[in-house]
């Protein structure tokens, strides 16, 4: 089990949870009072933990992870900009602040493993190797998009990369991933399936039904709760009777860990442990990865339900900045190296917008293609 289980950021137990009704606002305000001294101590502890872990990972992997985190951050900033310009329509859920989760988890995977996620899926697609060009073109609703412009922001898919999609119904992807894990075991391979979902999905029946089947039948599925602490505008405390998500696994006899989602290397290490259980024993795991989204739920969210102080508290532990700083401190990277990554990412993101702008809209005939794999013309 992770040492992080006992850190101060561990979620409160149910006895500390909010009461319903009018008392909620006051209680939230009380929680939001932040003691600067306590915060400094916590940050320093996390800082030292990540420094320790850097030595255990090879340089190329570390640099690749930083590159991917920077890519997601800059890509999402560009997505926000493009949304305000009207180039992206509908819902657009950004991954800014949560980069360490997708990058840390997916850095531990083999190319033949399978991945599902929710509608907050841009980051996962990029890390799975879908090109920024194809992701941006999908957001723009163009034929060059990874889903031919038919899925949009919430439905990025890349079958070749084993990225089985962004799914739009909260928790809907969890049974699907359980099925993919069922299939790999059925075929006798040692592939694993990872499925990401937010903490609000934990209240869905789909989550509980899946965990029960996965442990009952020993399916190699890793359930990753990206706990960003808000289901849209409703805080975890206001929505879950026992808000300690990792404890949900206990009811199913499943292994679980609580992980600091602002530390990309802690995320990677926890995923590696879960993967070992999956590959060697066909055992599932539940990882609760505590993270924070710096932006609103979607582009249309004004975010009145969180205080400035709370957001700033987490921004001080910005996973991209912290990881970059720590790599420099350990001499893995110098300023020139970081600048090189930023330059490379900037060029790629700029190119993705150019590609998406220039990619044609889907032809009108596309409205009626891809409905069936085997379209049947009725009658003899």
């Amino acid at each position: 089990m992770s040492e992080l289980k006992v850190t101060p950021m561990r979620p409160r137990t149910e006895s500390e949870g909010a009461s319903a009704g009018a008392g909620v606002a006051e209680e939230r305000d009380a929680r939001d009072r932040i003691d600067p001294a306590e915060l400094r101590e916590e940050h320093e502890q996390r800082h030292q933990e990540q420094l320790k872990q850097i030595g255990g990972v090879d340089r190329d992997t570390l640099l690749k992870m930083l590159y991917q985190m920077v890519l997601i951050r800059r890509f999402e900033e560009k997505s926000a900009e493009s949304y305000t310009l009207g180039k992206i329509g509908g819902f657009c859920h950004l991954y800014i602040g949560q980069e360490a989760v997708a990058v840390g988890c997916l850095s531990a995977l083999r190319p033949d493993d399978y991945v599902f996620t929710s509608y907050r899926d841009h980051g996962h697609a990029l890390v799975m190797g879908t090109s920024p060009d194809e992701v941006m073109a999908e957001l723009f609703g163009k034929i060059g998009g990874c889903s031919k412009g038919k899925g949009g922001s919430m439905h990025l898919f890349d079958a070749d990369k084993h990225f089985l999609g962004g799914h739009g119904i909260v928790g809907g992807q969890i049974p699907l991933a359980t099925g993919t894990a069922y299939a790999t075991k059925y075929k006798g391979t040692d592939q694993a399936t990872l499925v990401f979902f937010g903490e609000a999905a934990v209240n869905q029946g789909a989550f509980h039904e899946s965990l029960n089947m996965a442990q009952l039948w020993k399916l190699p599925c890793i359930y990753i709760c990206e706990n960003n602490q808000y289901g849209m505008g409703t805080s975890l405390k206001r929505a879950m009777s026992i808000s300690d998500v990792s404890q949900k696994a206990v009811g199913y006899g499943m292994a679980s860990e609580f992980v600091d989602g602002m530390d990309v290397l802690a995320v990677r290490a926890a995923t590696e442990r879960a993967l070992e259980r999956a590959r060697k024993e066909y055992l599932p795991s539940l990882l609760e990865i505590r993270t924070y989204r710096f932006m609103g739920h979607s582009m249309s969210d004004p975010g009145h339900y969180r205080t400035r102080a709370e957001i700033e508290k987490y921004q001080e532990r910005d996973p991209v900045k912290v990881f970059g700083d720590n790599l420099r401190e350990k001499g893995v990277l110098d300023d020139a190296g970081l600048k090189e990554i930023e330059e490379r990412v900037r060029a790629e993101v700029e190119h993705s917008v150019k590609f998406a702008d220039e990619s044609p809209e889907p032809a009108p005939e596309e409205l009626f293609t891809d409905i069936y794999a085997n379209p049947i013309k009725p009658g003899r």
Binding site: L164, G168, A206, T369
Partner: protein
């Protein structure tokens, strides 16, 4: 040709397709050790083992979604609902996942899955266990919906459904599992999806019937023959895609149409057929289309009320006479 029940025909279809393709597996409540709540999966556990014939917990949303996920990576699941009433719990996975996965991924995935089980009324099981849900599923592009009415169709259509690369909702009828009929020999016997079948030829009035109302319509046709009325009975067999051409051709011949169905009339399959016949054969109709549907009420328990809630031979006879202006 052997004479077997619909239950045996469905069993043969699954057995043959499981022998033919290692990727086919059956999952559902009580399908394995109990051999199926209606014994449709009798003997399959013994032949194929518990890897391929799987007793699930009572967790419809979960195992329906599990099936879709397994289909995404190449298996061909058969997901049995003990009855389709319970599929209501799984509609998120059937509609939002199975039906839409291919489209919203721009054609990257095929979902070769069959959701099957009894649909419609049983005997005195009241409101929550007596629902005909075909119009729900037929509403959605991405799904195929099949409703057999004979043992031969049951076997041939289920085999086609299992081999099909798209999600198929395969609706059986609890009252009909024991119905007997001839089934062609041979493992290659298939009935294609999307093709209606004229179950009886006639010249004076068309009755479109499906599932449980097909045998009722055939009995009504016998009765009407005695009264000098020649009835053509058309069974669409597949609801989506609908072979409207066969129905329209029949109406062009008989100029009259009765639709007999056990589901509710409102927003139902009968309404759809009626609209399409109006669009394609308006000038051929000598009378308004008549729908004979399940009562617009939840299914009651009391035997007399249950009988009133469902179409029967007598009322089909009456409806045909009505559109023929005989009464």
């Amino acid at each position: 040709m052997a004479v077997i029940t619909i239950r045996e025909a469905l069993n043969q279809a699954m057995r043959e397709e499981m022998r033919r393709d290692e990727g086919v597996f059956l999952m559902g409540e009580e399908v394995a050790a109990y051999q199926g709540a209606y014994k449709v999966s009798k003997g399959l556990l013994e032949e194929f083992g518990d890897k391929r014939v799987v007793d699930s917990p009572i967790t419809e949303l979960g195992f329906a979604g599990l099936g879709v996920g397994a289909a995404m990576v190449g298996l061909r699941p058969i997901i049995e609902f003990m009855t389709f009433n319970f599929s209501i719990l799984a509609t998120d996975q059937i509609i939002n996942s199975a039906a839409k996965m291919r489209y919203m991924s721009g054609g990257q995935f095929k979902i070769p899955i069959v959701f099957r089980g009894p649909n419609g009324s049983a005997f005195q099981v009241s409101s929550q266990h007596s629902q005909a849900l075909e119009s729900w599923y037929a509403h959605f592009p991405g799904l195929k919906v099949v409703m057999p009415s004979t043992p031969a169709d049951a076997k041939g259509l289920l085999k086609s459904a299992i081999r099909d690369d798209d999600p198929v909702v395969f609706l059986e009828q609890e009252r009909m599992y024991g119905n007997k009929g001839e089934v062609p020999d041979g493992e290659d016997f298939l009935v294609p999806l999307g093709v209606a079948d004229v179950k009886r030829e006639g010249t004076d009035c068309t009755v479109v019937a499906r599932s449980m109302t097909v045998p009722l319509a055939l009995k009504a046709a016998e009765e009407l023959e005695k009264q000098g009325v020649s009835v053509e009975v058309v069974d669409p067999r597949t609801i989506r895609p609908l072979d409207i051409e066969t129905i329209v051709n029949s109406v062009k011949k008989t100029n009259r149409l009765v639709i007999a169905e056990e589901s509710h009339a409102f927003c139902g399959v009968g309404a759809e057929i009626s609209a399409q016949v109006m669009e394609h054969a308006f000038d051929y109709l000598d009378a308004p289309v008549k729908r004979l549907s399940g009562a617009d009420a939840p299914m009651p328990y009391a035997k007399n009320l249950e009988r009133l809630a469902l179409p029967d031979v007598e009322r089909i006879v009456k409806a045909v006479r009505e559109v023929s202006y005989l009464d």
